[in-house]
């Protein structure tokens, strides 16, 4: 009884509320620790970032130390750090000196644009194929789809991207290998992301369609004389969509990971690229800000997926609220 209550009711609701806070806390704690363990005096680093490398002298460092209270006990500093995080005061980049929040909003636009193209593209590639395969399990389409999906999922995303660049930019010269001006620059990064995601979603769609197609309620809908269109549209698709949407949530882990890889590969000026660069440059405020943004995107999309599942599946909405 206790476990069921915990699993079915308390946890999902609580997690939705707690998750963003947890993300902020974990990222914040790691950022704080990172700042503390990096070699050199923190105050000098911050002063150099704020006033330029030439002005980062002892006086400026003392000023920064005074202002940020870097001489206080670390527990107090940590609470202060979390407090600033909660107010979305992410500090300034140690490299450019710009406010992190300002850089983030620009990068966020690029990342969302890329994800916004890649996700529908992956649905367009994967779902119809999965649907066709699932309608005839064991048939030729099914076998080809399964084989493709297994093969494609074993290709590292960076290798897939490189192959696409080799074929479409270098060999044929159709598409630019990097850059971010027009729609042509979107094609290769979005396709790299979408192919990886489609390999999984086609597989999930296939399984879920196969289960629904073999289910007694589909047979019953036919027996009672419903036209085939109504059987598939009203009883089939809606039921098959539930696991697909639920698994979209899992897929979004892949999306966040894919964004980091694909943006780095194509020098796309988004959040994932910025995160990798900031790690190289040991630019802690930017590392923290970008990680926070990616984490919160993940949480938000997860919540949206849950909401979509509840909307599409009346049973689930009744069971959980």
């Amino acid at each position: 009884m206790g476990r069921r209550f915990l699993d079915r009711f308390l946890r999902p609701v609580l997690m939705r509320l707690v998750q963003p806070l947890l993300v902020a806390l974990i990222v914040g704690a790691l950022g704080f620790a990172l700042m503390a363990v990096l070699p050199g005096d923190q105050a000098f680093r911050l002063a150099a970032a704020r006033y330029g490398p030439d002005m980062g002298d002892a006086a400026a460092a003392a000023l920064v130390r005074q202002e940020l209270g870097l001489d206080r006990p670390w527990a107090v500093q940590f609470l202060d750090w979390v407090g600033r995080l909660v107010r979305l005061d992410l500090g300034h980049s140690l490299v450019t000196g710009e406010p992190v929040l300002q850089e983030l909003t620009m990068q966020l636009g690029y990342t969302l644009a890329l994800a916004g193209v890649a996700l529908p593209l992956s649905a367009l590639l994967g779902l119809p194929l999965g649907l066709l395969a699932g309608l005839q399990p064991g048939g030729p389409v099914d076998r080809i789809m399964l084989g493709l999906s297994v093969l494609l999922r074993a290709v590292p995303a960076y290798a897939l991207g490189l192959c696409l660049v080799t074929v479409f930019s270098i060999h044929f010269g159709w598409l630019p290998p990097a850059g971010f001006e027009g729609w042509r620059e979107f094609v290769l990064p979005a396709l790299t992301l979408a192919l990886g995601l489609a390999a999984l979603s086609a597989r999930v769609a296939r399984d879920s369609v196969a289960v629904v197609a073999a289910s007694p309620f589909m047979a019953f809908a036919r027996w009672k004389g419903l036209p085939e269109r109504a059987v598939v549209l009203r009883h089939g698709l809606r039921n098959a969509a539930i696991p697909v949407i639920a698994l979209l949530g899992l897929q979004l882990v892949g999306l966040v990971e894919g964004l980091v890889i694909v943006e780095s590969l194509f020098s796309w000026p988004g959040i994932g690229h910025a995160l990798v660069h900031a790690i190289f440059a040991r630019d802690v405020p930017v590392v923290q800000g970008t990680a926070l943004a990616l984490g919160l995107i993940f949480v938000l999309v997860n919540a949206l997926v849950d909401l979509a599942c509840a909307l599409i599946d009346p049973r689930r909405a009744r069971a959980e609220t």
Binding site: G2, R3, L6, R11, M15, V18, Q19, L22, V23, I26, V27, L30, A33, L34, V37, V150, L151, R153, A154, V155, P156, A157, Y158, A159, L162, T166, I170, L200, R203, V204, D207, L247, V253, V256, E257, V260, I261, S264, L265, L275, V276, A278, I279, F280, R282, V284, V287, A291, L294, G295, F298, V299
Partner: protein, 262 residues
């Protein structure tokens, strides 16, 4: 072996042959993977270099074999470090229930709040290019999956009549754990582990490719691709080799895991 489906047998065969390549390759190559002969830069595959030489005239066979062994071993260590504690904690949670379970579930949910790669990247920021943060990150992000599965399955098993009977008859926790719980859990956990092995190989090579994993001059499949990329025109085949090995390793793991997991 006899009980395995053909697809899974193929996967096992792939992994075993890659392991064999990793173990025998250095001996076959006969040279050190770091030994450079600049005059042989980008030598095509031939009698001297069975798989050619890279841009610094190092034997590709020796480097690929070392890198394959490194990848598989690192991945295996990572998976073991995630699977063993994850499974034991899952069983503990199901067994004890109460606040032990509540606390562990809370920690697991906290880890799940972040995408795994993000955790790995954040830890990698502490010491880019070193294995320890990479390993810690992958293990920390990975144990949750085993924990959740082990907990769910163990709580089902613990309620089964034969397990309850054994506990009532006074068999100790060791007997129940080894004889009754683990045999029931192992097939599912094995599938998870095989899948996890593939994910770990992929993650390690990907992070090394973007420069946050293992750095050159150590031969690693991802960083070798990065190193060789500028020579894609001159030696397209050589550039493909490291990525092809990653592909084979991951494919082998996925096939071994079977169709049990989407």
């Amino acid at each position: 072996m006899r009980t395995l489906a053909p697809g899974r047998r193929l996967g096992l065969l792939l992994i075993v042959s890659l392991l064999g390549f990793g173990l025998l390759g250095p001996w076959l190559a006969g040279t050190d993977p770091a030994h450079q002969i600049l005059a042989h830069s980008l030598a095509p595959p031939g009698a001297d270099y069975w798989l050619g030489a890279d841009h610094l005239g190092r034997s590709m066979l020796a480097r690929l074999a070392h890198a394959t062994r490194l990848s598989l071993m690192l991945a295996a260590v990572t998976v073991a470090s995630a699977a063993i504690p994850g499974t034991l904690l899952g069983i503990l949670a199901a067994w004890r229930g109460g606040w032990v379970e509540g606390g562990l579930v809370l920690v697991a949910d906290a880890v799940l709040a972040l995408p795994g790669l993000l955790l790995v990247l954040l830890l990698a920021a502490f010491a880019p290019g070193e294995f320890l943060p990479l390993y810690l990150g992958l293990a920390l992000a990975g144990w949750v999956e085993y924990f959740r599965v082990a907990r769910a399955m163990a709580s089902g098993l613990l309620a089964r009549p034969h397990v309850e009977a054994a506990r009532l008859l006074g068999f100790g926790p060791g007997y129940v754990l080894w004889r009754l719980l683990l045999p029931g859990l192992l097939p599912t956990l094995g599938v998870l582990a095989a899948f996890g092995l593939g994910s770990a190989v992929l993650a390690i090579s990907t992070l090394s490719f973007i420069g946050l994993g293992i750095h050159p001059p150590t031969a690693e499949l991802g960083s070798m691709t990065t190193e060789l990329l500028p020579y894609a025109y001159e030696a397209p085949l050589t550039v493909l080799m490291p990525a092809a090995l990653v592909f084979m390793a991951v494919l082998g793991c996925h096939l071994l895991a079977g169709r049990g997991r989407a």
